[in-house]
């Protein structure tokens, strides 16, 4: 009996060891990002998955990044017709931040951008194109008509995928959209099969602004001086074409549907505060003169005071704050360059410049070239690590 018990214990211990040994050893920053997802409240999970996805991609863990962005896209594309979390976010007593995070349109579009990039690296051109196109659709909800579906980078990448798919029609259509959004910028040549995609700077920040925090405002990251990128080959410089300003995408979206609800909440909060303050003021005033009245006036005054206090409580309980959660490791700018893949090339040296054209040598690095099974290639690089803030 004792021997059997010992054997069972040993087997269990061995099983545990095997399970532990089979868990991959992730780099510390990615492990930390996974821990954040695991401990995050359900309504924040997609946000942490987005951030962890970029960290995984930055570390070259493309499989992990794909898994995370699949989950993110699942959250984004799920239609919240009548969910409890959505209803809570609309209620007077809950902040907008209580809703399940999907991000603002620029964040959703960037999630599609990263999923498309991963597909492109895998040689899945049609699914990459579908992702870039899906991202453009997320940007269709801008209030200002001229800023709807104006993610030029996504049109360019859609066109690039169309070209790699061998579909002249699809490529032409997307490049025409790109040319409309970025007139005069060059298009890839027929023989090009290398796409260099470089991200610069740190992405926009959100803040719940206004006295009551009911308005969402966007700010450029203050520590993001690099605005341009170029490939360095010997003494030659090949500047990358700036195709996207993510801050601009965030800031030009216009009003949101929820803004009107937040304004309504604010109005309710202010009205109930005014009513409550007036009633408690009246009660307090009447209390002073109570002795000169006959009968049970004290009870009536107490009732008025109670209603006033209740109205003030309603005012305090009304949550008007806008949802300022934001994807904190997005870039500020996207830059592209295309060429014929040089034979034997494994990586490209990239340097970064500020708005005055001054190179920051501390940011210079190599962009690894991913060659897919069809012989086409993508070189992707960020100016700063995905864990930079």
């Amino acid at each position: 009996m004792r021997a059997r018990f010992a054997l069972t214990t040993l087997s269990l211990a061995l099983l545990l060891c095997t399970a532990q040994a089979s868990e991959p050893e992730w780099p510390a920053e990615y492990s930390a990002a996974l821990d954040q997802i695991a401990s995050a409240p359900r309504n924040d999970r997609a946000l942490y998955q987005m951030q962890a996805g970029v960290i995984a991609l930055d570390l070259g863990l493309n499989g992990e990044a794909a898994r995370l962005f699949d989950a993110v896209l699942g959250s984004i594309t799920a239609v919240y017709g009548n969910s409890e979390s959505a209803a809570r976010a609309r209620s007077y007593w809950q902040e907008e931040g209580g809703k399940d995070f999907k991000g603002e349109p620029y964040e959703r579009a960037m999630a599609f951008y990263y999923r498309g990039l991963l597909d492109l690296m895998d040689g899945e051109y049609d699914n990459a194109r579908a992702s870039f196109s899906g991202g453009q659709l997320q940007d269709a909800f801008a209030e200002d008509a001229q800023n709807q579906s104006d993610f030029a980078s996504l049109s360019y990448l859609e066109g690039w995928c169309g070209k790699l798919m061998g579909s002249a029609d699809l490529a032409e259509q997307s490049f025409a959209d790109f040319a409309r959004l970025r007139p005069g910028m060059p298009l890839p040549k027929a023989e090009d099969n290398l796409l260099v995609l470089v991200e610069t700077g740190l992405g926009p920040r959100k803040r719940a602004d206004n006295v009551e925090g009911n308005a969402l405002r966007y700010f450029r990251h203050p520590r993001s001086p690099e605005k341009r990128a170029e490939i360095v080959v010997g003494s030659s410089r090949f500047p990358l074409m700036p195709v996207e300003d993510v801050y601009w995408q965030a800031a030009t979206r216009g009003g949101r549907g929820i803004d009107r609800i937040l304004n309504g909440k604010l109005e309710f909060r202010q009205t109930s505060a005014t009513v409550g303050s007036a009633l408690t003021g009246i009660a307090s005033f009447a209390q002073e003169f109570a002795p000169i009245y006959e009968g049970n006036i004290g009870g009536a005054i107490a009732g008025v005071a109670a209603v006033g206090t209740a109205a003030q409580l309603l005012s305090f309980s009304t949550k008007t704050r806008a949802d300022a959660r934001y994807w904190n490791n997005l870039p500020e700018g996207l830059h592209v360059f295309t060429a014929r893949l040089p034979a034997g090339a494994k990586a490209l040296p990239i340097q970064f410049l500020d708005a005055n054209g001054v190179v920051d040598p501390s940011l210079t690095q190599f962009a690894p070239i991913h060659i897919d099974r069809k012989g086409n290639a993508v070189a992707w690089l960020r100016s700063r690590r995905a864990t930079s803030r």
Partner: protein, 213 residues
């Protein structure tokens, strides 16, 4: 007078309790949900505008019936050899699609329903087949029970599909509509002629909550 005061006090108490109760509900203490089996032939509890399992089930069912009703395919004295490979499927839609999911289901359902009236050539298993053929010919293994053939099977027909979609967005209301169309064609691998064709289409619309618009 006393009853009026009592009424006001009760109303106040109700208002206060209502406010505090709602504020207290900020903590998400909702219970979980036990695992339940969902019907793959019907829309799941979470859905969007993309292709879902019930779409693939409906599409597969329609294509299998259509192909087997075609005498050029299912009525031949010698069963034709058909290749179904996701590499010949093109996704031009706005939805990411796992094409293997479509071809796998199509292949399994067709194979089952055809019941020998068609043969399916598995090009993706070529490497595995080659290895076993080499082992047999090198004498490492015996011939098996089917005997050996001089060459692997050639393909008579191959299936292609093009998935396209058209999206429309009403930016004022947030209503989005997706018209997804999949055109299937069976091509004669010698003559390039199309021997069969059919399509599957859906139009879905959805409006997300105002908090996401």
């Amino acid at each position: 007078m006393t009853s009026r005061i009592a009424l006001i006090a009760v109303a106040a108490a109700l208002l206060v309790s209502c406010a505090t109760d709602q504020a207290g509900s900020r903590v998400d203490n909702s219970a979980g949900r036990a695992t339940v089996y969902e019907n793959p032939n019907s829309a799941g509890p979470i859905s969007g505008l993309g292709i879902q399992s019930n779409d693939i089930a409906s599409m597969t069912d329609k294509m299998v019936r259509s192909m087997l009703a075609n005498p050029q395919l299912a009525g031949r004295a010698v069963p034709p050899r058909v290749q179904i490979d996701s590499a010949k499927f093109t996704n031009e839609s706005n939805s990411r699609i796992n094409k293997n999911r479509i071809t796998d289901q199509l292949l399994i359902e067709l194979n089952r329903a055809a019941n020998g009236r068609m043969e399916f050539v598995s090009v993706e298993d070529t490497a595995g087949v080659e290895q076993i053929r080499e082992e047999k010919r090198a004498g490492l293994t015996d011939e098996g029970t089917l005997g050996m053939s001089e060459r692997v099977a050639g393909v008579d027909f191959f299936l292609t599909a093009r998935i396209t979609s058209q999206d429309a967005v009403d930016t004022a209301s947030g209503l989005t509509t997706r018209d997804l169309y999949i055109a299937f064609k069976l091509i004669n691998a010698e003559r390039r002629t199309q021997v069969w064709g059919d399509s599957y289409q859906y139009v879905k619309s959805a409006q997300d909550d105002v908090i996401y618009r």
